[in-house]
Amino acid sequence: MSDVVIRAQRLGKLYRIGLRERQAHQTLRTVLSDLPRTAWRWMRRWSGQPAGTRKRPDNLLWALSDVSFEVERGQILGVVGPNGSGKSTLLKLIAGITAPTEGWIATRGRIGSLLEVGTGFHTELTGRENVFLNGAILGMKASEIRQRFDEIVEFSGIERFIDTPVKRYSSGMYTRLAFAVAAHLDPDILLVDEVLAVGDRAFQRKCLSRIENLRETGQTIFLVTHATATIQRYCTRAIRLENGRVIAIGAPHEIVEHYIQDVDGVSGRHPTPFIEVPPPDTKTLGQVVGILVMDDEDRERAVFRLGEPIRVRLTFELDEPCRQTVVALGLVTFDGVWLTTQWSESCDLGRGRYQVTFEFDAQFNSLSLQIGFGLSSQDVPVHSQHDLGKVVIQNVFTDGSRPRGDASNGVVVSRSRPGISPA
């Protein structure tokens, strides 16, 4: 028997978005003036007609519709999707905070929902009092909280301030304490909504390693985050939502890659940004007129397989002469990390149009890369832009084989495989 802990069937959630009439908070006046209509609706409902058939469709929003999936014990499920795609609504339905309009969702075991850090924290109370309050709100028993109190405080790292009212805390301390309580909740299913983005780096790392620990103990985790790198690193599966519908469920790196590609568009055509001299004497020095991404036979392409050579031809115009100019091509991940930069030779350039072709191999794991442009000369210190174009690299070698092992980890992929010999 499969160990399914969450199962959703045709789940739908309808929200009424408040246009002028029928706001979320109605006032008695509107109710009274609507009374005849309301009475009529109730009569229809009692006479067996489905409610809501007459509702104006432009007031209604299906935050989720026809969502079906199942999750097995121990999975860490990442949820990606743009704002308003229904991610948070999904978590609320799993948690049971709100009821669906259609379909059903079944869950097995204790659910811990971390949809917001520090829900129920009261600023007048001390850290200690808030730990107990927040723990109880999150569903812990008082005995559990007492038992783990020291652990919680140690995790938060604010031992010295535990008896200070939290209104005197810095926002970082506040969130650390709140997360510490939540991290010591011991649910079978943990729902986390974009709360890892709090705290400093060290604390974030602590939280993520905590999530890894939870996975080892067989807990199921639902993670909603815009940090796609986190999903690729920690999740065992990913769901992509778009306009309230599930578009794809599958391996995290594939879901994330497709998501990024669709969001950013894979077009090979590019705007023509200006090269500007930075202030104080802001002026336009010239512009990039074209970026052409090609394979080694100069055919235009945007998608490459692992290890394939990629040529990028940059065409730019200069309105002013630039002495000792070098032009650079940068490869930037969509998280903003510069992977590598290649510089051209340095030379004096007059006005006019120039082009330069860079060549490199796609030794990167399944990734979308932005192409960056840099220019530096005696007259312009350094100028760079890193959203000029895009290259997509797929996690398949040119011979059709996939990288072996846990290939989804790491940015750079090496083909060479050292042999193992007796030492």
Binding site: L28, L93, G96, I137, A142
Partner: protein, 307 residues
Amino acid sequence: MKLETPLDARVEQTTFQVGDARASEADRDALRSMPGASINRPPKGWPELQLRQIWAHRELIWFLGMRDVLVRYKQMFLGGLWAVMQPLAQMALYALVFGYIAKLKAENDLPYGVFIFAALVPWQYFANSMTGVSMSLVGNPGLLQKIAFPRLVLPFSSLISPIVDLTLATAIVVVMVLFYGPTPSWRILLIPAFYPLATLTAFAIGLWLAAINVRYRDVQHLIPFAMLFWFFMTPVVYSKQLVPHGVLSILLELNPMQLVTTGVRWAALGTDPPRLMSFLSIPGVLLILVSGLYFFRRSESSFADVV
């Protein structure tokens, strides 16, 4: 450590029954592989009250109640003194207006201030409780939107903090009786016996108002008015004996708060005991309570969406 029953108690703890029109064959098969699962599905019909879940959440009720108490008394220079000062000041004012100016007579020629105060204390408790209960949902939107728990926890927890004030004020009543009242008898021990009816009335009506308040904020403006009317329709600043016999006096007997104030006065000051007829109000309160519970449970599925 792991609980057997899920904590998200708003979700029904049932599996689809055979013959349940809402479950297709495929649904039942899907669920058979998940024994003991809790199901979140569209609400339909009248809900069960599931009061056992409230009991299971008693710790949460206690912590939320203690939060109110702590927050109330923190950062207040005079602290618990306020619980006493407020009714004392009101007593002074009412005694001035009704006792000194209007020359109303207290029963048994008691000092008018003491006569008022004994009734003012349970009234204040009732007013605080009812306002607290009716504001308990709209005052905690974060909890409603982000946490799953039986929604009844909130109105229950808001009953806790008024009890602290009540306890302090009752102590003052006892002190006053010792100084100004008649020789106290064993009946003084019966003062608290009338408090639960005030609690029950406040909770029953507060439940209705709390659930309506989520959707219609007019309730907030309505409450102070309603309380003012109710206050003067309850023998607090005057003696019940002054009310002429007729429709009004009968209505007064059916007011549960009349039973409370008359009862407390009888216990503390030895005035006339409540009439038997006024106990008829108790079934009425229970009716409002039970219907309020159902109404609350029925409307709670949309609390998170509209609060």
